[in-house]
């Protein structure tokens, strides 16, 4: 039966050819009336009587026409459309109102969509691997510390893989690690991910061409590597014959066997050049001390996280019994990979979402306030419409549609602002590696739509209910003789204005705290002179000719070439014209403990811990680190001489508070391996902050690169091979970073053409980077707070303006009765001040509760810093009063005659 199809077809025709349809209906009924009228006249009636008789027989022509038309139309849809058209028409009549409301909402919505885009890219989008929901990470806890989480020992990971049944497979992988690369095409620092051969299959990635690793392909002297698509294009110009090419990765001869598609990248989106195989079952890792690869497991279909956890507990217990020396008290924790990767990012980003929600709330309150005022002025209109028969529901719907139109308009403009917002965010965030994943996708659009509609509902519901409750009599009477609006409406508006100020206060306090933190960070004394110093990173390769592997274990031995390289490099760099001095330092070393000779040795797990840095003796002078006691390390501290150490003040304060540290002898221990010789403390230097937000400096032991053991365990040799060269130029030579970089690179290449130099930057840049997080937060909160302030100012201004307009009549009477301008001014400004004060007071209470969420980014100020609160509060009051100024002045200029005639 095609009935419904006919219906739809006819209805659509009627909808589309609406005008023709109306004319036809007119004709059809016109014909009927003409025929009837003629018949009436033929039966002897006069023209007028015939006409009336016809109408009587036909009934209400308009109504019947309307009924007939209604047969054809999608009634609800049409009246809805009518309402929308009407809303647009009414709104266009007050362009100022429209602009302010739409623009406020757009700012609020745009800010939310921007932050949501970032959250979406980082936290909500599924990971780009096959069935990512089944991927889990498995962490070990440190012995006796239940809440800690660290990567498992490599051999533990291998055992898990063999024993687990809940997991289909378990792979081990590093994050992106810098490695040196040499071969045709020059030396460079490459970014590698070390993975077990099953990694690719586990993640569901297959190569564009070539193959992936076969089991246990990693060897000590040669290996295969799989390269990334960007590296293939960069280093090999996309050469299809790349398979079989070789280069050296950390001194190990490596053959390319496969190229991965661009879809497989690094974990956090940063650049990645290649995957290097690791044999987890190699004897090298049998000591279970190397915790630098994370474990990723793929659950069997249908298996759950808790099943995996239960099974892993059993396995951990088994390993505990098999390897008590390393695994005693070690527990295992299973968690979804996505959570493990992005837990930290969430802590970072959710406070920002809170801030933009705050902005949106201000925008909503602003819009609601304006809408409220407008509803009050339109009460007569609603009353007239209601008395002409408009239903309450229809009136409410009309108002909700109006706010819906406003919300959607705000949303559309907001999307435009989101485009700009994302670019702004990425510009402010600078080194946000996942920048290109932040896009306006369908999810962001849906979010924006939802927010717009929710906003509209929030903003529109109060006026809609009020309009529906309009008391006809009262409203119509008031229309004649206008006095002040109802008490209820005025109170609502005042509450809204107060809320706006309170919310703005929260954001301003947040921004104020961050700005204060940044200012304080910039004033931190780093403990050395960072001006005219440039840094260069270099890392000697972890293979021939600098490192040999000691057979039968995980011991790597540095050859004498390492110290020779350092000594000659320092000489060469110091000889560069314009260089005042140069020093070298290794990255901060964790995992060192020590004992003091002559004191009873504590058990290994109770030994005191210290930071450790290997330096060149020239470093202290090059950086102008102050000597507090004893002497600096010197070139005379050679391998044959007694081994020396310099410690920092914190070390002394913590470990030798009541003794003279000079002359004390320490035995340093790194990953359970004692250094061969004890070291005598020869000097104490001031504390240094390489990382400015550091609160409590760590104790540090500085030792010379010339007095080091040659044997390292578990990758520890990197602490000897990775160096930062710090070069101080003679002041007054101007900006010669480029020249200096060239000279340093030349010096390095002369010693070893395969040795890359990376991360060239001035010390000041490096310090600035260390406060990047705080700066990023400060800038974003500044932007949000500025928007909030603007919106709040508009809100107060709007409220006050309305207040004055509403009372023009009253003010006129007062002026006519002899009130002074000052008292009129006081009337308006007093109210403004009162509202601002209340807003600030509530804002302070809110801020005290809420600024805790950014406490982790604060430096030198507490989350309830009274000075910041006072400054912001006073500032906001000032702006509140200022926003009253124009309306107040207008009030004083009220001409009593005009005012009394006013409506």
């Amino acid at each position: 039966m095609s009935g419904w199809r006919t219906t739809i077809r006819l209805r659509f025709r009627a909808l589309i050819q609406r005008r023709a349809f109306d004319r036809d209906l007119e004709d059809e009924i016109g014909f009927h009336l003409a025929m009837r009228e003629r018949k009436q006249r033929n039966s002897g009636l006069g023209a007028e009587d015939a006409h009336y008789a016809t109408i009587r027989r036909f009934g209400n022509v308009t109504l019947w026409k309307e009924d007939t038309r209604e047969m054809w139309t999608f009634t609800t849809f049409e009246t809805l459309w009518q309402d929308v058209c009407f809303a647009v028409r009414t709104l266009r009549k007050s362009p100022a109102f429209l602009t302010v409301v739409v623009f406020s909402l757009a700012l609020g919505i745009g800010a939310n969509s921007t932050i949501f885009s970032v959250l979406n890219a980082v936290l909500y989008r599924p990971l780009p691997y096959r069935e990512p929901g089944r991927l889990m990470t498995i962490e070990e806890t440190e012995a006796g510390r239940q809440n800690s989480g660290e990567p498992p020992a490599i051999a533990d990971g291998a055992d898990w893989r063999k024993q687990s049944h809940v997991f289909e497979d378990i792979a081990l992988t590093s994050f992106t690690e810098p490695t040196s690369l040499a071969g045709d095409g020059g030396a460079e620092q490459a970014r590698a991910q070390f993975v077990t051969p099953n990694f690719f299959h586990l993640m569901g990635a297959s190569p564009m061409f070539g193959r992936i690793f076969t089991a246990s392909e990693a060897q000590d002297l040669t290996q295969t590597v799989v390269i990334s698509s960007p590296f293939w294009k960069r280093r090999f110009n996309g050469d299809p014959k790349v398979l079989g090419k070789t280069f050296k990765v950390s001194g190990v001869l490596s053959t390319v066997v496969g190229v991965m598609p661009p879809s497989l990248g690094s974990f956090y989106g940063g650049p990645l050049d290649m995957w290097v195989p690791i044999d987890a079952e190699s004897a090298r890792y049998s000591e279970r001390k190397d915790h630098w690869l994370i474990a990723i497991g793929r659950l069997r279909p249908g298996a759950t996280q808790s099943q995996a956890q239960i099974e892993m507990n059993v396995i951990a217990h088994r390993l505990e019994q098999a390897y008590p020396a390393t695994n005693k008290g070690v527990r295992v924790r299973v968690m979804p990979l996505h959570e493990a990767l992005y837990e930290g990012a969430g802590r970072y980003l959710y406070p920002l979402l809170g801030a933009v929600v705050c902005v949106l709330m201000i925008a909503c309150v602003n819009a609601a306030n304006l809408l409220q005022a407008r509803t009050e002025t339109r009460r007569t209109e609603f009353a007239v419409r209601a008395s002409l028969g408009a239903g309450r529901r229809r009136l409410m719907r009309q108002l909700l549609i109006e706010s819906g139109v406003l919300g959607l308009a705000g949303g559309m403009l907001g999307i435009g602002l989101t485009f700009a917002g994302i670019r702004l965010f990425l510009a402010v965030a600078m080194d946000f590696t996942e920048g290109d994943r932040v896009t306006l996708d369908i999810r962001v659009l849906l979010f924006t739509l939802a927010v717009s509609l929710a906003t509209a509902l929030l903003v529109g519901s109060a006026p809609a209910f009020q309009a529906a409750r309009t008391d006809l009599n009262l409203a119509l009477r008031e229309g004649e003789r206008r006095t002040t609006a109802g008490k209820g409406g005025r109170r609502t508006r005042h509450v809204l204005a107060v809320a706006e100020i309170a919310l703005a206060m929260v954001l301003l306090v947040g921004a104020g705290l961050m700005i204060n933190s940044v200012l304080r960070l910039q004033q931190v004394n780093p403990g050395f002179d960072p001006t005219h110093v440039m840094n260069f990173d270099l890392s000697l390769s972890e293979g021939e000719p600098y490192v040999v592997r000691v057979p039968g274990g995980d011991i790597e031995r540095a050859t004498p070439l390492v110290t020779a390289f350092y000594r000659r490099l320092l000489d060469k760099v110091a000889a560069i014209p314009g260089v005042e001095s140069a020093g070298m330092i290794t990255p901060y070393g964790f995992g060192y403990s020590f004992s003091v000779l002559g004191r009873p040795a504590p058990p290994p797990d109770k030994m005191p811990r210290t930071g450790f840095r290997e330096i060149s003796p020239s470093l202290f002078r090059a950086l102008k680190i102050r000597l507090k006691k004893g002497r600096y390390l010197s070139g005379a501290d050679l391998p044959g001489a007694p081994w020396a150490a310099v410690v920092n003040e914190t070390f002394v304060r913590r470990y030798f508070p009541h003794e003279d540290p000079i002359g004390q002898r320490l035995v340093l221990r790194f990953i359970d391996l004692d250094q061969k010789q004890p070291r005598q403390i020869v000097g104490v230097v001031g504390d240094v902050k390489w990382y400015l937000p550091e609160r409590e400096p760590d104790p540090i032991v500085y030792t010379s690169y010339l007095q080091q053991d040659s044997d390292y365990r578990g990758g520890g040799i990197l602490s000897h091979l990775a160096q930062t060269l710090m070069v101080r130029s003679v002041p007054g030579l101007g900006n010669r970073e480029a020249d200096l970089t060239k000279e340093v690179k030349k010096a390095v290449a002369e010693l070893d053409p395969d040795q890359p130099v990376t991360n060239m930057m001035t010390m000041e840049q490096s310090l600035a980077r260390s406060i990047g997080d705080a700066q990023f937060y400060a800038r974003l909160l500044e932007i949000f707070a500025a928007i909030a302030l603007l919106l709040a100012a508009i809100g107060i201004y709007g409220s006050m303006s309305y207040f004055v307009t509403e009372r023009t009549h009253e003010i006129g009477i007062r002026v006519a009765l002899g009130a002074q301008r000052r008292s009129i001014l006081g009337l308006v400004a007093g109210l403004g001040l009162k509202l601002s004060l209340m807003g600030v007071a509530i804002g302070v209470a809110l801020a005290v509760g809420l600024t805790r969420v950014i406490a982790q980014f604060l430096f030198g100020v507490t989350a309830t810093d009274p000075a910041t609160f006072a400054e912001v509060g006073l500032g906001l009051l000032g702006i509140g009063v200022l926003a009253c100024y124009i309306p107040a002045r207008r009030a004083t200029r009220v001409d009593p005659m005009v005012a009394l005639r006013h409506e």
């Binding site: 039966m1 095609s2 009935g3 006919t6 219906t7 006819l10 209805r11 036809d24 209906l25 004709d27 059809e28 009924i29 014909f31 009927h32 003409a34 025929m35 009837r36 027989r57 036909f58 009934g59 209400n60 022509v61 109504l63 019947w64 026409k65 009924d67 007939t68 209604e70 047969m71 054809w72």
Partner: protein, 110 residues
């Protein structure tokens, strides 16, 4: 079938009368009104305007088809004619009508 209120009952009756009228050939609205009024006298007097929503409703349901034609006095008029579906509907309706009236009649005579 769901319950019908009296208004709907009346509406259905009007629909049926229109369909029945059209069994005598295509007619325009005025002619249909004239026919029903003449045939029933003043008994089923409804406002003539009510005919038009009914006609358009029937058209939408595909029970009648409409086209523009020229009337006996040379004016543009909209003519309605019965479709196959309309014929079928009419026979169902009149059967039901017969059952109902005979049932009512039996009660009234009892």
């Amino acid at each position: 079938m769901k319950d019908k209120n009296p208004g709907e009952l009346l509406r259905d009756t009007l629909d049926m009368l229109v369909l029945k009228t059209l069994t005598r050939g295509p007619r325009h609205g005025y002619a249909i009104a004239e026919f029903i009024e003449e045939t029933t006298g003043d008994v089923l007097r409804v406002e003539e305007g009510a005919l038009y929503p009914a006609l358009h409703r029937l058209e939408l349901r595909g029970l009648v088809a409409a086209e523009w034609g020229v009337s006996e006095n040379n004016r543009r008029a909209r003519y309605y004619k019965l479709t196959a579906a309309g014929r079928k509907q009419l026979s169902e309706e009149s059967a039901r009508w017969d059952r109902m009236t005979s049932a009512v009649a039996r009660i009234m005579e009892a």
